[in-house]
Symmetry: D4
Subunit: 248 residues, 8 copies
Amino acid sequence: MLEDILKQVQNGTLNITAAKEQLATFENLGFAKVDHHRKKRQGFAEVVYGEGKTAEQIISIIQALRARNDEVLVTRVAKEKAELIQKELPELIYNEIARILYWKDETNTDRTSEGYIAVVAAGTSDLRVAEEAAITAEVLGSEVRRFYDVGVAGIHRLLFHAEEIQNATVSVVVAGMEGALPSVVGGLVAHPVIAVPTSVGYGASFNGLSALLTMLNSCASGISVVNIDNGFGGGYNAVLIHQLAQKG
Amino acid sequence: MLEDILKQVQNGTLNITAAKEQLATFENLGFAKVDHHRKKRQGFAEVVYGEGKTAEQIISIIQALRARNDEVLVTRVAKEKAELIQKELPELIYNEIARILYWKDETNTDRTSEGYIAVVAAGTSDLRVAEEAAITAEVLGSEVRRFYDVGVAGIHRLLFHAEEIQNATVSVVVAGMEGALPSVVGGLVAHPVIAVPTSVGYGASFNGLSALLTMLNSCASGISVVNIDNGFGGGYNAVLIHQLAQKG
Amino acid sequence: MLEDILKQVQNGTLNITAAKEQLATFENLGFAKVDHHRKKRQGFAEVVYGEGKTAEQIISIIQALRARNDEVLVTRVAKEKAELIQKELPELIYNEIARILYWKDETNTDRTSEGYIAVVAAGTSDLRVAEEAAITAEVLGSEVRRFYDVGVAGIHRLLFHAEEIQNATVSVVVAGMEGALPSVVGGLVAHPVIAVPTSVGYGASFNGLSALLTMLNSCASGISVVNIDNGFGGGYNAVLIHQLAQKG
Amino acid sequence: MLEDILKQVQNGTLNITAAKEQLATFENLGFAKVDHHRKKRQGFAEVVYGEGKTAEQIISIIQALRARNDEVLVTRVAKEKAELIQKELPELIYNEIARILYWKDETNTDRTSEGYIAVVAAGTSDLRVAEEAAITAEVLGSEVRRFYDVGVAGIHRLLFHAEEIQNATVSVVVAGMEGALPSVVGGLVAHPVIAVPTSVGYGASFNGLSALLTMLNSCASGISVVNIDNGFGGGYNAVLIHQLAQKG
Amino acid sequence: MLEDILKQVQNGTLNITAAKEQLATFENLGFAKVDHHRKKRQGFAEVVYGEGKTAEQIISIIQALRARNDEVLVTRVAKEKAELIQKELPELIYNEIARILYWKDETNTDRTSEGYIAVVAAGTSDLRVAEEAAITAEVLGSEVRRFYDVGVAGIHRLLFHAEEIQNATVSVVVAGMEGALPSVVGGLVAHPVIAVPTSVGYGASFNGLSALLTMLNSCASGISVVNIDNGFGGGYNAVLIHQLAQKG
Amino acid sequence: MLEDILKQVQNGTLNITAAKEQLATFENLGFAKVDHHRKKRQGFAEVVYGEGKTAEQIISIIQALRARNDEVLVTRVAKEKAELIQKELPELIYNEIARILYWKDETNTDRTSEGYIAVVAAGTSDLRVAEEAAITAEVLGSEVRRFYDVGVAGIHRLLFHAEEIQNATVSVVVAGMEGALPSVVGGLVAHPVIAVPTSVGYGASFNGLSALLTMLNSCASGISVVNIDNGFGGGYNAVLIHQLAQKG
Amino acid sequence: MLEDILKQVQNGTLNITAAKEQLATFENLGFAKVDHHRKKRQGFAEVVYGEGKTAEQIISIIQALRARNDEVLVTRVAKEKAELIQKELPELIYNEIARILYWKDETNTDRTSEGYIAVVAAGTSDLRVAEEAAITAEVLGSEVRRFYDVGVAGIHRLLFHAEEIQNATVSVVVAGMEGALPSVVGGLVAHPVIAVPTSVGYGASFNGLSALLTMLNSCASGISVVNIDNGFGGGYNAVLIHQLAQKG
Amino acid sequence: MLEDILKQVQNGTLNITAAKEQLATFENLGFAKVDHHRKKRQGFAEVVYGEGKTAEQIISIIQALRARNDEVLVTRVAKEKAELIQKELPELIYNEIARILYWKDETNTDRTSEGYIAVVAAGTSDLRVAEEAAITAEVLGSEVRRFYDVGVAGIHRLLFHAEEIQNATVSVVVAGMEGALPSVVGGLVAHPVIAVPTSVGYGASFNGLSALLTMLNSCASGISVVNIDNGFGGGYNAVLIHQLAQKG
């Protein structure tokens, strides 16, 4: 692209002021490519973090997104706020457990996904974070299979699903309290595991610190970790990996 | 015992100075009973923490113990120090991995133990602490079975031994890094589990803090925790529980 | 693969020993036994952690439990929630201080307990956690004796009860602030002590961290620790130990 | 119990479907598959963590591995220890910066890798960890491109390589001190980023805690984190992802 | 000044009691000079920290300030409190985002500022703190240019403004979450950077600790740091530096 | 004193330059009084913290002290360093356990002390810190009684000395590990208790943090705390209090 | 007293059952002396910590105290709770800033105090804690002088009062934020300083941790520290010391 | 500069390949300006952090610097390493206390500095860090005045120098232990204060954390903070500010 601009300058079809303007858009450094790549690969341009934004702010961001492209993903939206937004933008869908507000073009069928992402969660209290991961992945176009309430204290429940988890492309493993589940899953599978600690627990869980440290210190290989309660991050990372597996 | 002293004072067989002396021993408050109970039940009077004591200090403590009773257990003794002590007291046995120096009356056969204590360890690096627990328990008269290198990242190795661990009276479960093993064992067994975090690990293990928090937050019931690297504490607690199971 | 093995056994191309070897299996490792053992030994199948569950969720769990067995123990239930549940399930009993909701078959008399569990608490503010331990132990079928308001700053109050505490099978010692009580009790008794730190305190108590560290570092032997405010864990561990003492 | 079932199958009193139901087993849940999968996909069975193991222990582990398969990867091996091992096993190669000891079958050419892994490092002091990641990935069969000394305080050095980093399949980004590099890289690329905090720094870096927290809190999407100084983990995760991209 | 007093005592124009009183004002030690200097250079005497003070207390402090000098700056004033104060003192201006209440003599034109302070902020959530810095600097008489929403995850947005930021006298850089922005800005500019961490974030941001550590460990030179959310401190330091640049 | 100077200026017996010089010594603000008071009350001018100072530096400081007054107290002096200093200054006495180097005028008999300071220590490992407190107090002229090895895990050993401790003017209570001793002593006595946490312990003692938090959270009244291992601080505070009790 | 009991047993004026009862009261170990000493010396028996107690509980405790002795001191009582208690017990006085509820016998004039306690506070926000200290000391019978708003950032305000603070028997120094005031006061005075950190501050003050650490690390001698916000502890310690100074 | 390149392309004096190469140097984005600005204003291009680099690495970096410009500043160089480097590059000067190795063109006299930087240090143990700041500032061309051993526990020593410190352009204030000095200096001066916490201290100083927190929480305005022991950062920031004051 840089070469194109220079050639036009050379042959006089582009004046210097216009050339400077175009170069100033950083096209020549490849920044803008990022967004093009994202959109092209994921059918998705931008994710909105809803926490701390008013309904009005979110509405105006969504309207800008809708003007440019088809799809919308807003995380951390409380129910009341979602309802205010939906009044204005009734085509949006709200998932209350995941606290996600989204719109996707269901008629878009060229994103046929091979394989699936496993979202594995330790306890029922971790559901909220697990669903944030799962819905994120689904809205971004991946198939998801859920394996909930399979905490390590009842290891047979997890083992019952071992084969189906092993056959996934990538796993998102969500756990609070002692956060041991990713280690066990990591030992069972041969694919990447994204570990998501949650703030579920009390006392010496220190709001998720215990689960976070557990996951960072996992003796199983192939595990990487995102922030406490960051279900979105878990889902997003899994989608990036899952899409790589589609490409080949 | 208080009553005995008072009766002797009453009937004049004990003068007041002698009575005061005896009462000052706190027999009347039951303190001394503790030591009698301990010795009687455990065949053991006192455990010596060797760290920070010189060979000379340990020798003189052992000589005092030997004068009063039969058995000796000194923990955290480095090899060089142990050799110095053994020169003076050649009947002592030294276990290098557990760093324990001890003497027990092997001819004493009235401590026939029913059942056994399971000492379970995650990785080979945790061996030192696991052996401190195991040797402690054995010196204090309990039978021990060892289950080593059964960390959660290879859960099948643990499950292979599940039944034998289930049949123990009590388990001591030793793990560093993420420290997840006690949660899994706790979910498999119906007996008390003593969890021992170790300082094995690096980075965000923070010298055992990670494993400690994991164990305190275990979602499995029936788990209690001792200090980081406190193999002795794990073994000692297990012995107390194991002996209760003998008594009935 | 399982089917292959079985077919070969069926058609005689594989003998039983070889088949067994291949099937290093699940069933023979005894997962399901766990629950049977639990129920059989403790007269109790499952404990429900009420925090973060709605009244509706708790009701449906209880109904499932009642369909399968006789008894129910739900911890961390706020008063309002308990009342909603009791409307639906009026046979349940609610203990407001312990915040426990339970039902037990009082006509079941074959759980005659020898000895008792001592529940010892430092201050009146620790009562809530101490009662969670005590009620848990009682609902699970053990006899409990309570020793409250015996903090270390008035050591004579504790010593007054020393003998009765010494005669227990196991002690649960509950303390907040500096959390020193388990060390003192541990020095007085010859049985296992389960230490329960509480979040009672302010400033540098850091919500129970101070008491937790104190207990983990106890210089008395025979002490193990559960999570901050985990009265249930203290009571449950004590019951496991107390039942071992019955078995002999 | 297993024997009973097999006998009944053998003598025809139990059909295969019923037998399978009874044997809700181990084998069919695929534990052993894990290792087969690993070997098959990665051409690699097991990685040895060298820290805390003696030269003798490592030699015997390697000999066992060599007996079973072709390749060896031992991390965290100090130079002196490596030399001792190489005396015994001269075919092993030692990389001093990465502190990795390995052997791979260079004649094995069926692992033709499309694309490459970008290993990006902030400062020269982070080299040791970055090389642990890079060598790990190379020994495990991936192509690696290195982008070193491109810390955020001189952002133009990073941008100079932006396009080449963008074209990688996955990036491993290594940084100590403030650990900001993964956020910037994460904003430039559309592929997964594995962030590796290092303990490089002093004072308030708290041995890598600062960099770790920075990475966990990254406002860029698509970043997941491994333990402090865990170059191996970064490389290993990248290989898992890179191999998925080959498969399609 | 000390010399003046002593001379007056010497020549009898000042009696000893009056001399002692004057000396007691510490004029001779230069304390009072501080306030004179401040007022003279900054046109400003004192800043009021509004948090934890009642509207009544703030009103009476402002009235005292107004009696002595022209200008007022009260930080951390909630909207409701500000309205109560404005009822009594309607000439005060309230900036809701910055939560600052102030009055300045707009007719005072002798504070012509050369150059400007750059206030740079990572995300929209950091706006509140950035505005506290910006408004503080403006009320204290400096020109401010704002560069918002230029976080490191979209580095091109920052680079678009690079030259204008480079031309500032001093930068105040505000960021939460991973707090990496000051490092990148510090690498782009040759002037002092005041870094202000914010408590924006969740989980392992630990209320701003993550951003604080990042900034303290910055590998860029020329960065110093103020307390978490201390927008005022950032602005105030920048003004001190900016005024030095005016003086020459 | 200020008045004196001014009068001399007034009546011409002091010129202005000399007056300024004297005033500059801050006599008029009372600073210098501090040192006079200290010396007069304690027979002691300054304490030297020996850690991080070379033998040469300490020697020159002592020589300066000896030129001005009679007594010397240097803390934290390693044995080798002390020997180097003693070669130069052979009249100094070195206490190896307390690591204190001192000289006091034994012929000075007008410091007859009523009562005594109790120095109470939990374990033999705390001896070093306890002796730093005791020797400090003795060198500064107070009588000290030592009560060692009276940790809370064997409460009867402490109670044996209860009356003698109660009769002290003030107690210095030294403890590591769980640090519970000051709470128990605080409950037994009616005088001030200075608590000194030590770094004795391992694992979750976190180098004395555990003992420090325990002491700060003590439920006993009348306890205040100094820094970890600060035996000198404990002894010094006790001396200040003990001297107040002499004054009446 | 033990001797008395034994003599009565010996001469038959006391039977064994009655003797055992009396001995069980621990008179012979001196416990009860504590309370007698306290009451006698301080005119005060017990202090009630009001936090977490209901108005009803506090009323019944006060009634018990009033039945036994004359005076009452309840700390940490919110205004609403105090009003409920005062309805029942109208003779009690409530200090709203200190949140203390008390009653003292003003006719009791034999506690004539020589000297005074200095209560020194850094900022107006620390007033609440400073008043808890001051009112505690006054109710317990000591004279108090207050020195407020003398923080280190305006050192001349503190120095203005230097002499009056120096003349106190003991100082209680209260400070939040950076907590530097006790160090400066400690350098000015020759008497004991009780330092009280407060939770005043934000961001990196971590609820008083910053001030607490500052005070523990003070380079001034003669400073000891109580828990964060523990104004009562500061006042109580000061009273103990002040009373010692009366005794002589 | 961008315009120049484009014009040359337009008029054919530059071919497209050469143009691309030049544009790739980022001149058009202003990055390189940074280094030009730095060099021009400070007479200095780059500072080398010597820690963790070998003598050989440092020598080759210096040789590269000397080839490009006149001056050299290497921090954190141990004495032995410095001597090795000086053998090769004998014109370099080494300051052992500051551990800085440097070369500056003393004949360069056009950097006439108005005013001076005050480097203020609390204790003699902080000297090393203070000198790192002072030497850094001097090598970078600023005049420095040193005020050492003026800790807050002897406030009169600081006040003695108050006026001279007030007259500086900017202060660098270095302190360990409680780190209170910057607050006091900040209250005395009207110029910016750069606070440098040091790791001097023990116990609860937690290697400088205490001093760091103190400084971040300072109640004095105009203070900003650098990393623990970062004397270089303190000096460098001061130079940036000091140079701004020269410019006007």
